[in-house]
């Protein structure tokens, strides 16, 4: 399914077929507009970021529709800002066609005193190309214009209007922040008086207060949300992958139909659940091939619903490839289960639908459910609509001993656990007569473990060779498995060397990888082999220094200092890393100095590093646990202090010298 960002863009931008109305352009004087002096260090500024939504009744259908106009004017301040002037507006010929389209470029003259260059593009002169966003095929398209010439100081204005006819499916959204600075951001909603417009604001993924100014004018009610002089969001380390700025979501809550009666939109998320169920239930029905497949997979299986569900889940997870092909409502409605089974490919809702169908054949109830598959920041649902809130479909398997959430899209996640991107998310199961939003569980750090052990012999030239064993559990196992299952021998060695954190060197051999296919949620992925590192010893006169960081890279987040953190810090899945290395020093050298034990225990995580002797060998053990997924911007300073504390501790070295010392 499409991402929330794409969904946001789809309603935030626009487009469609039909040519439509001519765009009228107002006079523009470049010299009166803010330039680079007003926005030092910025590549571009959005002069206007506006969306205007007008609800009305279509007399031909008796159904309401929305005309959504985007007005986006950007001024290019430096060459770095030219890309912001590129126009790419998504549209769908059936679901949200474009009814008006225009782009105007006003570029300063080549020399002082030259008149500005003015160019305009209408629908006919824009590129209109298929839009493929992670899918093999989609009917969605993109109207594109690359304005040129585009010297600094140019202004590119776009006016795009799209028409949304199915207001149960779509909510309409406006993002006030667009990355760079914005002079004026505005959302204007215009509906016949007496119609109800529902709206909600989100900020940082959570519901927020942002009330419109409301006025009545000529038999219509006009709602206006407005912000001015937004500074823009600078790129930051560990920033959210999806924009978390302020958005306002709008939908038509109730309207008066052609017969004068009031018609209510979907009342709440429960009603949306039932509506979705009605849209997709046609796809659930199994055919004989599915029944035969279930019989084959469960032949000889014990009569334990959990075990039987796991077997079916494992087959769909591993044997049905991910592939998105979208016709019409295909972005939200799955293909029939028999089609998915025959082709053995489909997208998330297709795979969930097939598994649902197979479970039903096995007598195990389950419900499809949609959620926002996040990139580290779970985000709240906005308004009860089919599209916009969520970007992924999984399954709630209702076993006798409780519900198990299962995501058969992920190639390598065992039954009984969800991938990190689904954890802590609001899930809306679909059912008749409807289900409420539920939140999926978030796994703690200790179950997401990567443990590396090695027994190494150091040579005087700094090379270190020996054996290693790596064990992965939880989300760390998911990631390792999904990567290793794709790779051949050399690729696997390189992948595991990177997971190990090997600074310089390679895995010389990989003798064994156990449980690449996860038998259950508790069995670790195990890899063993030999490694060969180099440049592991520092040379200090006749002595040598040995740091773990010369063998294994830092695992604590490296946060660069910043004057003011704007966005939350996204740290990903809670997780624990353990490195335990037994190192035999080069012949004739022994440790004269071992760093002291370091223990750090803070709300963000835990760190422990110790160097000990084991006969002639040294043993270093480092444990790093990161327990938070998201840290608010206000806590950046204390989080950085924690990370610096950890990284500083790793700087300390063992000193080796001839003869050594007790």
């Amino acid at each position: 399914m499409r991402s929330r960002l794409a969904a946001l863009l789809c309603v935030a931008t626009i487009a469609g077929c039909g040519g439509g109305a001519q765009v009228q352009w107002a006079p523009l004087k470049l010299e009166e507009l803010p330039g680079v002096d007003a926005h030092p260090g910025k590549g571009w500024v959005a002069l206007r970021n506006e969306r205007r939504i007008a609800f009305d009744l279509d007399p031909s259908t008796g159904e309401p529709y929305a005309e959504v106009e985007t007005r986006f004017d950007v001024r290019v301040l430096t060459e770095a800002g030219r890309k912001a002037a590129r126009v790419a507006e998504k549209h769908h010929p059936d679901l949200y066609p474009v009814t008006a389209f225009g782009v105007r470029l006003v570029a300063p003259g080549a020399k002082a005193g030259d008149p500005p260059t003015v160019r305009t593009w209408d629908r006919e002169h824009a590129a209109d190309v298929p839009q493929v966003n992670g899918s093999i095929y989609s009917e969605a398209r993109v109207l594109g214009v690359t304005p040129s010439p585009l010297p600094p100081g140019s202004v590119v204005e776009r006016r795009v209007t799209r028409r949304f006819a199915d207001l149960r499916v779509f909510s309409l959204v406006h993002g006030f922040e667009v990355g760079g600075p914005v002079r004026e951001a505005r959302l204007v909603v215009d509906a016949p008086k007496g119609w109800r417009v529902d709206h909600v604001a989100l900020r940082g993924g959570e519901h927020a207060e942002f009330a419109p100014v409301v006025r009545d004018e000529g038999g219509r009610t006009i709602y206006t949300w407005e912000r001015r002089d937004l500074p823009g969001t600078p790129p930051e380390d560990f920033e959210p992958a999806d924009p978390l700025g302020e958005t306002v979501w709008v939908r038509l809550g109730a309207w008066r139909g052609a017969d004068g009666r009031v018609v209510e939109n979907l009342a709440d998320h429960r009603a949306t659940s039932a509506y979705r169920h009605a849209l997709e239930r046609h796809a659930y029905a199994p055919d004989d091939a599915i029944r035969a497949r279930v019989a084959e997979l469960l032949a000889g299986a014990p009569d334990d619903p959990r075990d039987r569900a796991r077997r079916l889940y494992d087959w769909v997870r591993s044997q049905v490839r991910y592939c998105g092909i979208y016709f019409g409502m295909g972005g939200w409605v799955p293909h029939p289960a028999p089609q998915i089974h025959a082709a053995r490919y489909g997208d998330c809702k297709d795979k969930a639908t097939l598994l649902h169908s197979m479970l039903a054949v096995a007598g195990i109830p389950s419900r499809l459910g949609s959620l926002y598959s996040h990139n580290g920041v779970p985000t709240r649902a906005a308004l009860p609509t089919v599209a916009g809130n969520h970007n992924h479909v999984i399954l709630a398997v209702d076993l006798p001993d409780g519900t198990v959430f299962a995501d058969p899209t992920d190639r390598s996640v065992p039954f009984g656990r969800l991938p990190f991107r689904d954890q802590g998310a609001e899930l809306l199961p679909t059912s008749d007569p409807g289900s409420d939003l539920v939140r999926t569980p978030m796994a703690p750090a200790e179950v997401n473990l990567a443990r590396f052990e090695a027994d190494l012999t150091l040579a005087a030239d700094g090379t270190a060779t020996g054996t290693f064993v790596a064990r992965f559990l939880g989300t760390q196992a998911d990631r390792a498995r999904s990567s290793l299952v794709d790779l051949a021998e050399r690729g696997r060695r390189e992948d595991l060397a990177a997971r190990f954190g090997l600074v310089a060197g390679e895995l010389a051999s990989l003798d064994l990888v156990e449980h690449l296919e996860p038998p259950d949620a508790d069995t670790p992925l195990v890899a063993r082999g030999r490694l060969a590192a180099r440049d592991a010893l520092g040379v200090a006169g006749d002595g040598r220094t040995l740091r773990l960081s010369d063998l294994v890279t830092h695992f604590a987040p490296v946060l660069r200092e910043t004057a003011q953190r704007v966005q939350p810090v996204v740290l990903g899945s809670p997780r624990r890393y353990v490195h335990r290395l037994r190192i035999t020093p080069p012949a004739g050298l022994a440790a004269v100095h071992l760093p002291e034990l370091v223990r750090i225990d803070e709300p963000y995580g835990r760190f422990e590093m110790s160097w000990t002797r084991d006969g002639e060998a040294l043993v270093v053990e480092r444990v790093l646990e990161l327990s938070r997924t998201v840290v608010p911007a206000a806590e950046f300073g204390t989080l950085k202090a924690f990370a610096d504390h950890v990284n500083r501790a790793e700087r300390r070295a063992v000193v080796l010298a001839a003869g050594g010392a007790p």
Partner: protein, 661 residues
């Protein structure tokens, strides 16, 4: 197998055509994955067939691609489970067959009706690309293999037809897929009216040519081609991939003989015509002139024209042709290809009264087609040649794409390169009179590539250091940096400076930074970063160990693992020098310095020096790269200095606390 039966010449319904059905599925079986431990898939068979026929005027070309691939690991499915086919304007997809052959022998077939069809997918435009951005017309087809999995054999065959005859072809077993090819086959078939030539390179396999019912048929089969290595310092592919060069020299249409690629004149005719004669569109509205005031000779005019092109346009790579973009737009955008730069330079020189000609070179040196094998696409870089004339004592070769090259200087890519010098004049009958002359571009070497990093430290007794990192770039490295950073905002420079400090140690703190400044003409750039490292030096007892780890960690692409397969090719010399300097802090003396080292191979020279002057300590490592071509077997020896260079950052200066009075 079709034949050129005489009867067919009379009956268009039986026009020669390429067989589009698939053979016996049982012939294909995936080999055991254990036999291919480092490969995610194996191409069992890849074939390209071309058929030139003239049953009715005009000539048509049928082109067929056939691939059979065994999936050995899941990673291959992301590349192999779907087939994308682009059909350009004037071309037609006339047949498609596909099938998934399961490990158990089950076959799932697909055909033309299973293709997903859209118009061509094209980016809405790349603002950074000054190359021509004209609409491409055509269709795009996708087939997705059902039931594909590890152990499956995926087979597809597609046939296209287009008007005319393929002018020339470079073809070989390699594609954009990184898999070994067990058997590769190329077949070209033509009627008696086609005269052609083909050559094979980097292979011992024979090229079979036979008569085929009055026409001819040419077949090349190559077996057991390993997956393409991804190796740094690789020579241009023409010198190591097995490949075939094919050209249609001429063909007959009725009573007319059409020359296609009989001579270089044929091949370069349209380019020469566009450059010299058919450029009205590109010159529309262009009225720029160089300032000739004070210029006493032609050399001065050349300098002025070079400066104009260098200062008003930025080289954006690619494109030897001037393209359809107007010069006024090129100047407005300020970005140009080598073709646009050369065209602008030529126009300025011409208007200033300097005789100049276009000369075409190949960016990839050592292409294995010589002057006797005219092939389209051989020359992809445009120079301007200024013959000796009044005020120009020596002939000049000007590569305007080299922005740090002065008059008379050439970059490594075009210095001593074979070129084709073009000239064209309009005849009385409006046709172009073309001449193509082979020559060699001569010039002095441009300023050498250098990367000089100075790290000046103030060492505190507790191990903290304050430092300044200054980096100076010269030659093509400077040009690379300038182009990479030319659109950087202040914030981007700040971010990059923080990355520099973070590279020293994660707890490092950026104190200030001086963003890069470049002298475009001189090929020089410089930037500086001031930083604080709280834990750099290591206090141990009465000593303080000051490591050289402020030096960079990278190994300059000499860090390859596994066996080297390709020759080692270095096109341009480059020198890297890193120097760490500091004053011995009060109360300390130098106990030991890194041992001096020097290691040299044919490609690299490494040196580490350390010295104390008064209380000032200086540790320096350097690595110089020489241009040349060496056998793969020499790789380990060649790179030894690079490895020693990398290991040198583990060296340290040991300071000892001075005791007593």
């Amino acid at each position: 197998m079709r034949r050129w039966l005489p009867l067919c010449a009379l009956v268009s319904a039986c026009a020669p055509t390429l067989e589009s059905t698939l053979g016996d599925a049982a012939a294909w079986k995936a080999p055991p994955a254990a036999d291919w431990p480092d490969d995610a898939a194996v191409v069992l068979f890849r074939e390209k067939r071309l058929l030139f026929s003239q049953e009715t005027r005009p000539w048509t070309t049928q082109q067929q691609e056939h691939q059979v691939v065994a999936v050995l690991r899941e990673g291959a499915l992301s590349q192999l489970a779907q087939v994308h086919m682009r059909v350009d304007e004037g071309q037609e997809l006339i047949a498609f067959q596909a099938r998934t052959i399961d490990p158990d022998g089950t076959v799932v077939e697909g055909g033309r009706g299973d293709l997903l069809e859209t118009d061509l997918q094209r980016d809405a435009g790349d603002l950074d690309d000054p190359r021509d951005d004209e609409d491409r017309q055509g269709r795009f087809f996708t087939y997705y293999f059902p039931q594909a999995r590890v152990g499956s054999v995926l087979e597809w065959k597609v046939t296209y037809e287009s008007k005319g005859i393929t002018r020339s072809l470079r073809v070989g077993p390699h594609s954009n897929l990184p898999f070994p090819v067990m058997r590769h086959r190329v077949e070209l078939t033509g009627g008696p009216g086609v005269r052609y030539e083909a050559r094979l390179y980097n292979t011992d396999a024979p090229l079979h040519v036979e008569d085929d019912g009055g026409g001819w048929r040419m077949v090349w089969e190559q077996k057991d081609v390993p997956a393409e290595p991804a190796e740094a310092w690789a020579p241009d592919w023409h010198s190591w991939r097995p490949w075939m060069a094919y050209r249609t020299k001429q063909y007959v249409v009725g009573n007319w003989v059409r020359h296609v690629a009989r001579t270089w004149d044929d091949v370069l005719r349209s380019r020469a015509t566009q450059l010299y004669l058919e450029h009205d569109k590109q010159l529309e509205g262009f009225a720029e002139k160089i300032d000739v005031a004070g210029c006493a000779d032609g050399d001065c005019l050349v300098d002025r024209a070079l400066a104009f092109v260098r200062d008003r346009t930025e080289y954006a790579g690619g494109g030897s042709a001037p393209g359809s973009r107007k010069l006024t737009e090129v100047l407005r955008e300020g970005r140009a290809t080598s073709g646009q730069k050369a065209f602008l330079l030529w126009k300025l020189l011409k208007d200033a009264g300097v005789d100049a000609q276009f000369a075409l070179a190949s960016r990839a040196r050592g292409r294995r087609t010589g002057h006797d094998f005219p092939l389209f696409g051989t020359y992809d870089h445009t120079l301007v040649h200024v013959p000796a004339q009044a005020g120009v004592a020596e002939p000049l070769w000007l590569d305007a794409a080299c922005e740090h090259c002065a008059r008379g200087e050439l970059p490594a890519r075009t210095r001593d390169a074979p070129v084709k010098v073009l000239s064209a004049t309009a005849r009385f009958d409006q046709k172009a009179e073309i001449t193509v002359r082979a020559d060699v571009a001569r010039g002095r070497a441009a300023v050498e590539s250098t990367d000089i990093r100075d790290i000046d430290l103030v060492v505190r007794p507790d191990g903290a250091v304050d430092g300044t990192w200054t980096r100076r770039y010269g030659g093509s490295v400077a040009t690379w940096l300038r182009r990479k950073t030319r659109t950087w905002s202040a914030g981007r420079w700040y971010d990059d400076a923080r990355d520099v400090v973070r590279g020293f140690w994660p707890t490092g703190r950026l104190v200030s930074e001086k963003r890069g400044t470049c002298d475009k003409a001189a090929g020089r750039c410089e930037r500086a970063v001031t930083f604080h490292l709280p834990d750099h030096a290591l206090p141990v007892g009465d000593t303080l160990v000051v490591p050289f780890t402020v030096a960079a960690r990278d190994l300059g692409e000499w860090d390859a693992r596994g066996e080297r397969r390709l020759e080692v090719a270095v096109g341009e010399p480059e020198t890297t020098i890193e120097t760490m300097r500091f004053e011995v802090p009060e109360g300390f003396e130098v106990a030991s310095l890194p041992r001096e080292e020097r290691l040299e191979s044919a490609a690299l020279v490494y040196a580490l020096t350390a010295r104390v002057e008064g209380r000032r300590v200086e540790v320096r490592r350097s690595l110089s790269l020489r241009a040349g071509l060496w056998p793969a077997s020499a790789y380990e020896t060649l790179r030894a200095p690079a490895r020693a260079f990398a290991a040198a950052r583990q060296q340290a200066v040991v300071l000892r606390r001075v005791t007593g009075g």
